[in-house]
């Protein structure tokens, strides 16, 4: 069982809507549009879909896909309620389903109006995953992810000497990649001075440390590997997956070590399943809701030791033609916040060799992560 789900499934279809601020479409319509594109990309018909994993905190449920696509026999459905770690967690769940023969083609859609739709309020406070911070922290006025996560970043800075300029390097690198992507919201150049001059949101996190609020949809299809090789698009075989929950998963402030994410538990499982080392990674699409969360994941993924993230960021070239190409699409920071499904789509493009101007030369093996809900971490490793 050492190799677990190794290459039991592959991503056979990808789809994205335009990423905008003001889609004029419903959340469900965004999901259906992205899903139809992914299905077409895989060379399938909508009625071939026999598994679906809707976004747990989203508008659509599995029944919406049965209704819209007239699915004759949906045999597998699940949700993976891990916030921004959900999309990669859904890949693990889909892999389990296709490996067990429960389904052949599992659709994983996401889509929402994160800019033009509803914002933080009492509805969020009462969602089960936020119930604990909802009762004890939100009534004080600390309710948004930037505010809650800033305690982790400050602790990291105080314990390890991490600097805001190191966060800035991540923001600038990712912005440069967005500028090479036609479907990215922010394309103007960003200098370190721009980053340092951007207004403080929740100290130490500045505006340019924060991801975008945006509208859009993205979807992928996970198929059983034995079917993948005969499908329309080049499959991305999934070598390893992992899901990890941090200690004190519901509240950062109660966590013994608030500088360690669930990623630290997920990553060793994913690398062991894949049978590769960090040196084999040609491209990394790392969930970037905030710059600090990228730095922390680089540690928890094992690219450097805990506490060395600042120096690692300072000394590594993350450009598409650099040492460790990072968020080659522009990420949540500068492309769009599509809850990390845009990271999964980009990794598949990189492994197909269709990533456009920011294509990493000879990309054969890549990694994608998810992160969310106060510290859950997920990792998937794929190959061309």
């Amino acid at each position: 069982m050492a190799n677990g789900l190794f290459e039991k499934g592959a991503i056979t279809g990808i789809g994205e809507t335009a990423y905008t601020r003001g889609s004029g479409k419903s959340d469900i319509a965004l999901q259906m549009e992205a899903s139809l594109k992914a299905i077409a990309d895989a060379g399938l018909k909508p009625t071939d879909i026999d598994g679906v994993i809707p976004y747990a905190a989203g508008a659509a449920v599995a029944e919406d896909f049965i209704t819209n696509f007239k699915l004759p026999d949906l045999r597998f459905s699940a949700t993976t309620p891990l916030g921004g770690a959900s999309c990669v967690a859904a890949i693990q769940a889909a892999m389990s389903a296709v490996a067990a023969g429960l389904a052949n083609h599992v659709l994983i859609p996401i889509g929402r109006n994160g800019y033009s739709g509803a914002r933080i309020g009492s509805r969020v406070q009462q969602m089960p995953q936020f119930r604990v911070v909802g009762e004890y922290e939100m009534p004080l006025g600390t309710l948004a992810p930037a505010q809650l996560y800033a305690h982790m970043a400050r602790r990291h800075m105080e314990m390890y000497g991490t600097k805001s300029e190191q966060f800035g390097k991540i923001a600038m690198t990712v912005r440069n990649h967005a500028a090479m992507n036609d479907n990215a919201l922010r394309q103007e150049a960003m200098t370190l001075e721009d980053h340092q001059a951007s207004r403080m949101i929740a100290d130490p996190l500045r505006l340019f440390d924060c991801s975008l609020e945006s509208d859009g949809g993205a979807a992928v299809i996970v198929s059983a590997s034995e079917r993948a090789k005969d499908m329309a698009s080049k499959p991305a075989y999934i070598m390893g997956v992992g899901e990890g929950h941090p200690d004190s998963p519901s509240t950062i402030t109660q966590r013994d070590d608030m500088t360690t994410l669930g990623t630290a538990k997920a990553a060793p499982r994913a690398f062991e399943m894949a049978g590769i080392t960090h040196k084999d990674i040609d491209v990394a699409e790392i969930y970037d809701c905030f710059t600090y969360i990228v730095l922390c994941q680089l540690e928890d993924l094992g690219f450097c030791a805990k506490g060395e993230g600042g120096d690692f960021v300072a000394s590594t070239n993350f450009a598409f033609d650099g040492d460790l190409p990072l968020n080659t699409h522009g990420g949540l920071l500068s492309q769009a916040h599509i809850v990390g499904m845009n990271h999964v789509v980009e990794l598949v493009k990189q492994l197909r060799g269709t990533a456009g101007a920011a294509q990493v030369k000879d990309a054969e093996i890549g990694l994608v992560t998810g992160y969310g809900d106060m510290g859950d971490g997920t990792v998937a490793i794929m190959r061309a």
């Binding site: 305690h151 602790r155 100290d203």
Partner: protein, 139 residues
């Protein structure tokens, strides 16, 4: 869009904590079997898995673990209070608490001794913990 103010949503597990804040007492759950203190309030002791609960009054003393100063108005009902310094504190009872710093003179650092005090919020609808530097001596 009309934004409601966020109120605590106490349940039977947590009501004594909120009642304590109103009475200017910091109350913590203690396991009725093994004596382990836990926070935030919840039904089961993660040390011995007992559901027997007692409540004890904390010393209100602790040290700074981390902090964040909020500048952006994420919610209109908190806008007038910005910037707001939220501090995570390691209490003497070996649990953590989040409070608002009401001590403009102090420069925060990890390990700084602080004292928990209390403040009414939302026109007195409930009370919250606030923090000042502990100038009583010690470290």
């Amino acid at each position: 869009m009309e934004m409601e103010r966020l109120y605590p949503l106490p349940n039977p597990n947590s009501q004594p904590y909120w009642d304590g804040l109103r009475e200017r007492r910091l109350m913590l759950q203690q396991c009725g079997e093994c004596g382990t203190i836990r926070h935030y309030p919840r039904p089961v002791c993660d040390h011995c898995f007992s559901m027997e609960v007692e409540w004890v009054e904390a010393t209100r003393r602790g040290t700074v673990h981390s902090w964040s100063e909020s500048h952006h108005p994420f919610h209109p009902s908190f806008k007038a209070d910005l910037p707001t310094m939220f501090v995570t504190v390691d209490l003497e009872e070996d649990v953590r608490l989040v409070g608002i710093l009401r001590d403009p003179e102090v420069t925060l650092r990890v390990g700084l001794p602080v004292e928990v005090r209390f403040e009414d919020a939302a026109d007195g609808a409930f009370s919250i913990p606030i923090l000042v530097a502990d100038r009583s001596g010690g470290s």
